[in-house]
C-alpha cells in the first residue's frame, strides 16, 4: 500500500476532493499547513513596522491507496489542483507497510 500526500493551494481542495471521489477514492485526511518555496510571501505593516510573511497557507491531503493505484491517484490530484501558478504545491508517494481500520481491526486493502 501507499500513502499519497499532497500539499496544495487551499482553494483547490474542493476540486481535488471531487476528482478523488470521481476516481473512486472513498476517504482522505486533510490538514492545514504553511508552505515556503518559490511562491513569494507578502509584507504587512503595523504602525509603520513591516513584517514579512513568507509562509503561505496550504492544505495537506493524505490518501491511503493500494500500491497499484498510487500513481494514478497522484495524477488525479495533480490535475485537479493545478492552476499553473507558482505555489501549486507538491504530491509525493511513500510506501506503507500496513493499514488498519480502527472500527473493525481489518488490515490491508480491506481497511481502506
Amino acid at each position: 500500500m501507499k500513502l499519497v500526500t499532497a500539499v496544495i493551494q487551499p482553494h483547490r481542495l474542493d476540486d481535488v476532493k471531487a476528482a478523488l471521489e470521481a476516481a473512486g477514492i472513498r476517504g482522505m485526511t486533510v490538514s492545514e499547513a504553511s508552505g515556503y518555496g518559490r511562491q513569494r510571501g507578502h509584507t504587512e505593516v503595523y504602525r509603520g513596522a513591516e513584517y514579512t510573511v513568507d509562509l503561505v497557507p496550504k492544505v495537506r491531503v493524505e490518501v491511503l491507496v493500494e500500491s497499484e493505484a498510487a500513481s494514478t491517484v497522484a495524477d488525479v490530484v495533480v490535475q485537479a489542483a493545478q492552476t499553473g501558478k507558482i505555489g501549486d504545491g507538491k504530491v509525493w508517494i511513500v510506501p506503507v507497510e500496513d493499514v488498519v481500520r480502527v472500527r473493525t481491526g481489518e488490515h490491508g486493502a480491506g481497511a481502506l
Binding site: 487551499p10 474542493d14 492545514e32 499547513a33 509584507t43 504587512e44 505593516v45
Partner: protein, 442 residues
C-alpha cells in the same frame, strides 16, 4: 426659556449611545464575514465614522436643518457651513431648541444618525470593494442621499408634516401643520429604507462575489456578531428613546416599545427557523434583534406596548423569510441589508398606519381600539415610496459614476486571497492556524 438640564443630559447620553452603534455594527457585520475579510468589513464602518464625522460638521447639519430650504429637498449647505452661526446667539450664549436644550447637542445627536445610516449600507457589498471607492462613496452618498432625506422628513421638508410638505398638499393645513402628518419617529425612511435601497442598488451595480451561492461563505465568528447585536440594541435606546428629544414619557414609551418589539422579533425569527430549518440559530436571534429594532424605529412613539409586540413578531417573521430572497433573485446582498433594513423599515413604516394609537386602521384618534381611518396608512405608504424612489435614483447615479471612473471591485485574486491583505495590508488574526507562524528567536 431656561436650559432643561435633564433633557440635555438624556440627549448627550443618546448621542453617545447612537455613536456606539457604528462600532457595534462593525462587529455585527465583521463576525458574519469571512476571517480573511473581517477587517475590511469593519473598516467600512470605521471609515464612515471618519468621513462623515468631518463632513457633517462642515455641511451636513446645514444641508439638513435651517431656514433656506431648496424646494423642501435640502437646505442651503452654506447657511451654517462649519456650524458657523448655528450654535451661539449674538451674546455668545448657546441657542436652545424647542425642548430647551442647546442646539449643539442636536448636532451631536444628528451626526451619529448620518454615520450609522451610511455604515449600514456596507453590509450589502461585503468582501469585494476597494476601500478608497467606499470612502468616496460614503462622502458623496451622505451628502446627496442622506442629508436631503433628513431634511425632507425631519427638517420641515417634503416628507414632513410642515405646511410645505406633500402631506399638507394632500390633507390640507391647520395652524401651519398638515392635518395628517406622516409618522417617522426615529428614522424608518431616513435611515432604514434609505440604507436598504442603497444596499440593493449597490449590490446590483457592483455585482456578486466570486462564487456567491456556490461556495461556503459562513460567518467566521458568531460571538462577534452576537456582541454586535447586543451593542446595537443598547445603542438603539439612544436612537429611539432619544428621538423623543426629551427625558419624558414619550421617551419612556419609546424605550419600552423598542424592547417589546425587539424581544418579539427574536421569537418571531426563531420560530420561523425552528419550523423551516429545524434549528433556532444564534445568527437568527442576532438578526431578529436587528429586525425588531429596525421595524420599531419609525413607530416607537406611536404605538402601545402590545402593538409593539405585534409589530415585532411580524417584522421578525417577514425578515426571516426576506433574507432568503437574494438567492432566488440572484443578487449578492451579502449581509442582508435589503432583507433586514429595507424590509424591516417598510414593515415598520407601513404598520404605523395600522397600529398607531393616534388614528389608524386599528385605533381611533382617541386611542381606543377601533377603525381610525385610512389616512395615516396612505401617507405612510406615500413617504415610503418617495423614500425608495429618491434613494434608489440618487444611489444609482453615484454608484454608476464611481464604477465608470475609479471602479468598485478588487480583482478576483484579491477576493480569493482575502481583501484584508490586499486593501489593508493586514490580517485579523495571528497564528499558524491561519496558515501563518510568528517565530521568535533570531
Amino acid at each position: 426659556m431656561e436650559l432643561d438640564s435633564g433633557n440635555a443630559a438624556w440627549m448627550l447620553t443618546s448621542a453617545s449611545l447612537v455613536l456606539l452603534m457604528t462600532p457595534g455594527l462593525a462587529l455585527f457585520y465583521g463576525g458574519m464575514s469571512r476571517a480573511k475579510s473581517v477587517l475590511n468589513m469593519m473598516m467600512m464602518s470605521f471609515g464612515a465614522m471618519g468621513v462623515i464625522g468631518v463632513v457633517y460638521v462642515l455641511w451636513g447639519w446645514s444641508m439638513s436643518y435651517g431656514t433656506q430650504s431648496v424646494a423642501g429637498i435640502f437646505n442651503n449647505p452654506f447657511e451654517s457651513f462649519g456650524l458657523a452661526g448655528a450654535l451661539l446667539d449674538g451674546d455668545g450664549n448657546y441657542v436652545l431648541n424647542g425642548f430647551n436644550y442647546p442646539v449643539v447637542i442636536d448636532v451631536a445627536f444628528q451626526v451619529t444618525f448620518a454615520i450609522i445610516t451610511t455604515a449600514l449600507i456596507s453590509g450589502a457589498i461585503a468582501e469585494r470593494v476597494k476601500f478608497s471607492a467606499w470612502m468616496i462613496f460614503a462622502g458623496i452618498w451622505v451628502t446627496l442621499a442622506y442629508f436631503p432625506m433628513a431634511h425632507m422628513v425631519w427638517g420641515g421638508g417634503l416628507l414632513s408634516g410642515s405646511e410645505n410638505s406633500l402631506a399638507a398638499a394632500i390633507f390640507g393645513v391647520t395652524d401651519g401643520a398638515a392635518n395628517v402628518a406622516p409618522l417617522d419617529f426615529a428614522g424608518g425612511t431616513v435611515v432604514h429604507i434609505n440604507a436598504g435601497v442603497a444596499g440593493l442598488v449597490l449590490a446590483l451595480i457592483i455585482g456578486k462575489r466570486k462564487g456567491f451561492g456556490k461556495v461556503p461563505m459562513r460567518p467566521h465568528n458568531l460571538t462577534l456578531t452576537m456582541l454586535g447585536a447586543g451593542l446595537l440594541w443598547f445603542g438603539w435606546f439612544g436612537f429611539n428613546a432619544g428621538s423623543a428629544f426629551a427625558a419624558d414619557g414619550v421617551a419612556g414609551l419609546a424605550w419600552v416599545n423598542t424592547t417589546a418589539a425587539t424581544a418579539a422579533a427574536i421569537l418571531g425569527w426563531l420560530v420561523v427557523e425552528k419550523i423551516r430549518d429545524g434549528h433556532a440559530t444564534s445568527l437568527g436571534a442576532a438578526s431578529g434583534i436587528v429586525a425588531g429594532l429596525v421595524a420599531i424605529t419609525p413607530a416607537a412613539g406611536a404605538l402601545n406596548p402590545v402593538g409593539s409586540i405585534a409589530l415585532g413578531i411580524i417584522s421578525g417573521v417577514a425578515c426571516a423569510f426576506a433574507v432568503g430572497l437574494k438567492y432566488k433573485l440572484g443578487f449578492d446582498d451579502s449581509l442582508d441589508v435589503v432583507g433586514v433594513h429595507l424590509v424591516g423599515g417598510l414593515v415598520g413604516t407601513v404598520l404605523v398606519g395600522f397600529l398607531s394609537t393616534g388614528g389608524s386602521v386599528f385605533f381611533t384618534a382617541e386611542g381606543a381600539f377601533g377603525f381610525g381611518g385610512l389616512d395615516q396608512l396612505w401617507i405612510q405608504i406615500l413617504i415610503a415610496v418617495v423614500a425608495v424612489v429618491y434613494s434608489g435614483v440618487i444611489t444609482a447615479i453615484i454608484a454608476i459614476a464611481i464604477k465608470a471612473t475609479l471602479g468598485w471591485r478588487v480583482s478576483e485574486d484579491v477576493e480569493s486571497a482575502g481583501i484584508d491583505l490586499a486593501e489593508h495590508g493586514e490580517s485579523a488574526y495571528e497564528g499558524i492556524s491561519a496558515g501563518r507562524i510568528a517565530t521568535e528567536v533570531k
